[in-house]
Symmetry: C2
Subunit: 336 residues, 2 copies
DNA sequence: CTGAAAGCGCTAACAG
DNA sequence: CTGTTAGCGCTTTCAG
C-alpha cells in the first residue's frame, strides 16, 4: 500500500537516497533549498517512513511493551490510558498484552515482547510473587513495575504510598467521630496490601483506638469477595460504626451486602475504599476513597523506564507517589 | 541485551545460518537430527528471534493497530481486552492508541500506525463522521470499524443490531405492563443512535403505544448528560412508568436524578439501558440492559480484518451481531 | 554539502 | 538436505 520508499523519492528528486534520509531526519548538514524541495516531494508522493526499517538499523524500535493483568479492570485501564498518551508524547508507541492474571501467560507475553524488540516494558498490577517468575526475564530488557510495591527487590517500580493512604483514611474516619473501625482486607500475600493494613494499624495505634481486621480468603479483590465477607459479618454481631476496605471493589461488594441486610450507608455505617477507581464516582455508588494518582503514576513509570533505557546500568529506583482523600458520600460524621 | 543472533548460533553449530532459520521456521526440508541439535542450541544460548528483522523481509509485521477513543470507557476496554487476547491467539500483537475523542488526533495516530507498518487497523468507537476524515487513510491499509454502524459506506465493520436491541428492550418493558415508555436519546448525528431510536419507534408502532422521545443536547453519552436531562424531566410533569435510555451511561445519570427527586427505581419507575457495560452489573447499580456481545464482536472484528489482509481487494463486508436482554433489577412488572 | 557503500537480522530463492 | 547470496528500507560512516 504505502509502497513509496526513500529510493523512489530520491530517484524523482535526482539525488541519492542518503540525501533524502538526511532531509527527513532534519538534522546534520544539508542545503536548505534541497531539503525543502525534498520535503515537498515526500508530501506530494505520500511518503511515510518505514518505522520497521528504521528500527532495524537504529537497533531501537521506540515501542514500549505494556503487560496488564486485564484491561477490564478500571484501575488498570485508567493507568493504561495515561501511559499510552504520555508515551506517545515521548515518541513511543505501546504494545499491549493482557496476562489474564496468569503467571505463565505473563511470562509468555513478556518473552513475546522481548522478541518484538520493544525498548522497555511496563508491568502493571502483577502480584509481587510474579516478580520471582520473571526475574530472569527482566534482566533482558529495561522493565518497570507499576502499582505494586516491590520494596527492596532489585527492580524499578512506581507505587502509591499505601501505608500513608490507609493512615489518611483511618484518621479521616476518626475525625468523623468513628472509634470502632473495621478493616476489610484481602490478598494477604501482596506487599501492597500488607502496607495498607500496616497503615491502618499504625494509625489506630497512634490514635489510641482498637484495630480490628477481617480478611477475605479470596485471592483477588473483587466485589464478590467483599460481598461474601460482609454478608457473613453482617449476619453476626457488628458493633463497628465504620468500615475501611482495602480496595474500592471490596467496598462495592460491601454495599450490596449492606443493602440486603437493611443497613443504610452512610447513615448506619460509614464505608471507605481505596484506589478511587472510576466506578467510585458513579452516582449510585459515590464512594469515599483514597485516590491513587493514576496520571502521575503513569508519567512517572514512563519517565523511569526511559531513564533506564538511556542508562541500562544505573541503580534501581522507585518512585512513591502520594495518595489523597476523595470525599464522597459513603462516610459521614458519626451522630451521637 | 538479547544479542544472540541466527549467525551466532550458526557459528557455534557449525552450519550456515540459513539452516538455522529453517530449523526454527519448522517447515521445509531439514534433517531431524540437525534440527534438534540446533533447537537445543538456541535454547541453551537463549536465542530469541528478532521480529523486526523478520518483519522487514516478510513485509508484514503481524501487528494490528487499535485506535480507541479512550480506554477509560469500560465498553471500549472490554472490547479491547477481547481483541487483544484473540489477536494474540491468531499470532498478532496489538499496538494501541487513544484518540481521546479528537478527530485530528485520530487521524494522526492512524498515520503513525501506518508508518509502523501494522498489517491492519481496528477502529473502535469512532463517531460515524470521523469516517469522512479518515477516508483517504483507510484506503492505505486494511481497516475495520467496530461498534459503529457504517451502513452503506464502503468499509468493513462489525456492529450490534442496534435497532433490534431497542425493539427487544421496548417489547420487554411492554411485557412488564408498561405502556408509557419514554426514550432518552443522545448523539443524534450517530447512525448507531439513530438505529436505536428507530428500533424504539418501530416497536412502539407495532405494539400500538405512543412513542415519546427526549434527546440530550450533549454530544457525548455520559452520566452527566443523563443526569441533566433527567433532572429537568423530573422537575416537570412526568407520567411515564418506564424509561429507556440509549446507553447505560445515560441510565446511570438518570439513577442519580431519580434519587434526588425521591423517585424509587424500580418501584416508581422502571429503567433500562443499552450496552451492558460492566458498570451495569455492579450491585448498587443493577441495571437491566441490552447486551452487546463484546467478545463476539471482538473476534468478528479480528477475523474480518485478517480476511481483509489476506484478500485486500475483496468486497466490503459487515457483520451484525445479535443483542440480548440482560434482566437485572432496574425494571419490574408494573403494579396496578 | 552530497554520493557511495556497508550492514542491521532475517528469509527465500537458487544452487549444490 | 544444506550452503550461498541477494535483498527488505533505512541510517551512517567515509569519501569526494
Amino acid at each position: 500500500m504505502s509502497m513509496v520508499t526513500l529510493k523512489d523519492i530520491a530517484k524523482v528528486a535526482g539525488v541519492s537516497y542518503a540525501t533524502v534520509s538526511r532531509a527527513l531526519s532534519g538534522s546534520s548538514e544539508i542545503g536548505e533549498d534541497t531539503r525543502k524541495r525534498i520535503l515537498k516531494l515526500c508530501e506530494e508522493m505520500g511518503y511515510t517512513p518505514n518505522a520497521v526499517a528504521r528500527s532495524m538499523v537504529m537497533k531501537r524500535t521506540n515501542i514500549l511493551g505494556l503487560i496488564v493483568a486485564s484491561l477490564d479492570n478500571p484501575f488498570m485501564s485508567e493507568l493504561t490510558t495515561n501511559i499510552e498518551i504520555y508515551a506517545r508524547r515521548c515518541g513511543y508507541n505501546l504494545m499491549v498484552c493482557n496476562s489474564s492474571y496468569d503467571v505463565d501467560l505473563e511470562k509468555e507475553v513478556f518473552t513475546l515482547l522481548v522478541g518484538r524488540q520493544v525498548d522497555g516494558i511496563i508491568l502493571l498490577p502483577i502480584s509481587s510473587e510474579s516478580y520471582e517468575s520473571l526475574k530472569s526475564l527482566t534482566a533482558q530488557v529495561p522493565t518497570v513495575f507499576i502499582s505494586e510495591n516491590l520494596q527492596d527487590l532489585p527492580e524499578d517500580y512506581v507505587a502509591v504510598d499505601n501505608r500513608q493512604g490507609m493512615r489518611i483514611a483511618t484518621e479521616y474516619l476518626y475525625s468523623l467521630g468513628h472509634r470502632k473501625i473495621l478493616y476489610f482486607g484481602c490478598r494477604s500475600h501482596s506487599v501492597t496490601h500488607r502496607l495498607r493494613l500496616d497503615g491502618y494499624r499504625q494509625a489506630c495505634e497512634s490514635l489510641g483506638i482498637e484495630a480490628d481486621v477481617l480478611y477475605s480468603p479470596f485471592s483477588r479483590s473483587s466485589h464478590e469477595a467483599g460481598y461474601q465477607l460482609a454478608d457473613e459479618y453482617f449476619s453476626g454481631e457488628h458493633a463497628h460504626t465504620a468500615m475501611l476496605c482495602a480496595t474500592d471493589s471490596l467496598a462495592i461488594g460491601v454495599m450490596r451486602a449492606a443493602f440486603e441486610h437493611n443497613i443504610s450507608i452512610p447513615d448506619q455505617l460509614s464505608l471507605m475504599g481505596f484506589d478511587n477507581i472510576s466506578f467510585a464516582a458513579l452516582p449510585p455508588i459515590n464512594l469515599t476513597s483514597i485516590d491513587q494518582p493514576k496520571q502521575q503514576m503513569a508519567t512517572a513509570a514512563v519517565d523511569l523506564l526511559l531513564d533506564r533505557i538511556a542508562k541500562p546500568e544505573a541503580g534501581h529506583t522507585s518512585v512513591i507517589v502520594p495518595p489523597s482523600l476523595v470525599e464522597r458520600r459513603s462516610a459521614k460524621q458519626l451522630s451521637e
